[in-house]
Symmetry: none
């Protein structure tokens, strides 16, 4: 019933993550400081440090709070179409604002913070890989994929080119690009054996 209630726990956590995303979008992750997040969120610095051990950890949580549901896989029975739909959705998330730029920054951070790298894999990459593998396994059992196809490599082969475009060449990551990659992968590099 107070006019300016001193809120606790989850309230503060949420406000800090929201502010992190706001500031991150406005000034870019590189210039983002915990000091500035605290000031903008009306929080004490200690309140942030109590929750997150590093800027990377804060960003990771903030970012994942944007995608709590995760990316779900459709299963229409046509693996090629389903993969296309799912990867289109992934690309829309990864490449677009606000997720995209901050996600790239987070991967940058993961290069010198092993804990961020581990958490990123465990909480984002891993679950997505699991779903991908599960869907591909079903397709393989139905004969839509080559029986020899190595499911462990699926994530690297399917996602690698996207991350290459996102992180290295930094050219636009479009649906059309995804489609070309998928076509090439389904066909294979070598000449078709049957002729």
């Amino acid at each position: 019933m107070s006019d300016t209630p001193r809120r606790r726990g989850a309230d503060r956590t949420e406000a800090i993550m929201r502010t992190t995303l706001e500031l991150g979008q406005e000034i870019g992750y590189a210039k983002l400081s915990i000091e500035a997040v605290a000031a903008r969120a009306g929080a004490g610095k200690h309140t942030i440090y109590r929750r997150w051990p590093s800027k990377g950890a804060l960003l990771l949580d903030s970012l994942l709070s944007l995608n709590e549901a995760g990316l779900d896989y459709p299963d229409t029975g046509d693996i090629a179409a389903d993969l296309r739909v799912q990867i289109h959705a992934a690309v829309d998330l990864l490449a677009g604002p606000p997720f995209g730029p901050l996600f790239r920054a987070l991967i940058g951070e993961a290069q010198h913070e092993p804990q961020v790298a581990a958490a990123l894999n465990e909480r984002f990459i891993g679950p997505q890989a699991d779903k991908t593998v599960a869907r591909l396994r079903a397709a393989r059992d139905q004969g839509q994929l080559s029986p020899q196809f190595d499911l462990e490599l699926a994530m690297a082969i399917l996602s690698g080119p996207l991350y290459f475009q996102l992180l290295i060449t930094q050219e636009p990551l479009t649906h059309e690009y995804v489609d070309r990659i998928l076509d090439a992968l389904f066909t294979g590099i070598g000449p078709t054996h049957a002729s």
Copy 2:
């Protein structure tokens, strides 16, 4: 007449880059400071700022000075074998010390410094891609590759999985892993058409 003569120009440039690599290996790129490089190299900070606009630019130059020759492509006539050899060499460079850790850090830096990203593409990724495409084109003309194979995508498809392993999952990048990826790519994901 001094015992440590005040050297100029290229001497200073080289000494600073060498020190950057040394310090980068010792304390990690994240903790690398221009201040520390200057102190260790016996150089004034101004001498560094006169040559490089940012830490990323300094690291890029320092790193590329390790691989001035670039990675050359063999051409034995067998594209599958040549690719394998070449990518093994690339992986040996990228994943091993001292290049690996600093290279990963550089890609991290490229996520928030567009100039570093541009220079990285222009001076390292691009040339490698050109060589790869040239070798693949020759192979395609000889019928060793599918005529439909999209050469523009070659670098993303071949390198993407490696960078995914290097940057995202951060698991060891071995020859055996490369071989499995290449096998899968040559075969293609879909079931073989001949049946």
Copy 3:
């Protein structure tokens, strides 16, 4: 039935003051924090703030609890001897541990906390001055002191040199020093009139 029963009122007050003295001795008053006292005493910070408005007030109470009886004046009929005895006792208290260092710190605190200064005068300096003046008045009435002797100044003249030694020069405050001061004061600075 608890092994560490949650005690109330005076128990807590006493425990907090005892802890204050302990910690003050161990780490020095300057580094003493209410946070640390609370933690060591197993008390909540609020329990301390409920009783004392400031660190100075807490220290004052803690310190005076060491000397609840006060310093009593002997009256043997010989004022010079009685003064000597009494000031020796005062010096033993003021200069020795644990009282001395904390007492000095308290006077330091009194320089920027008027409430501490007032309380210090009211509860420690004042009563001692009253006793001193009363004893001196008796001596004056008995002709042992000059009739012109200004009793109001007695405390300043007798104690001033001691506090000077304690607070300013910070050299040892010994019985021998006190004796020399008393001798000089009884004699006076000027040349003796009788000659």
Copy 4:
């Protein structure tokens, strides 16, 4: 020729001390922070820490810069009159703004910073004591003082009561008070021997 020249060394030192005195007067020493001095002086914190190891050391230098000449002793041949004049001057300095409040704070600081105490004695108390003793010695040689008078105690006996009033009772330190003290000291406490 620049409009806002970046000044060095002594300029910065002087500006910081001046700001320290200003801020100290405005908000009081207890609330004085190095952060605030730096901000007000337009100086970096490091520039302050480079020069002074602590707040006390900064205040000491700042304060002594107000009284670089020191308090000089007159010598008219009449020691009682000269002492009176000199102590009046000392009291005017010690008790009045801006010196007084900051000087009290400095003595407070000296209670838990031995280095401040040492510097205070060496640079302020000591020189004043030396002058006092020299003047008193001359007077003693001329027969104006008791030959037995212990010159080593002079400073404590003469100044002690003033510091007692300044630091402990914190009542006004007036010329009239000084005069009463001096009268009492010259006379001595005991009854006059001539009777």
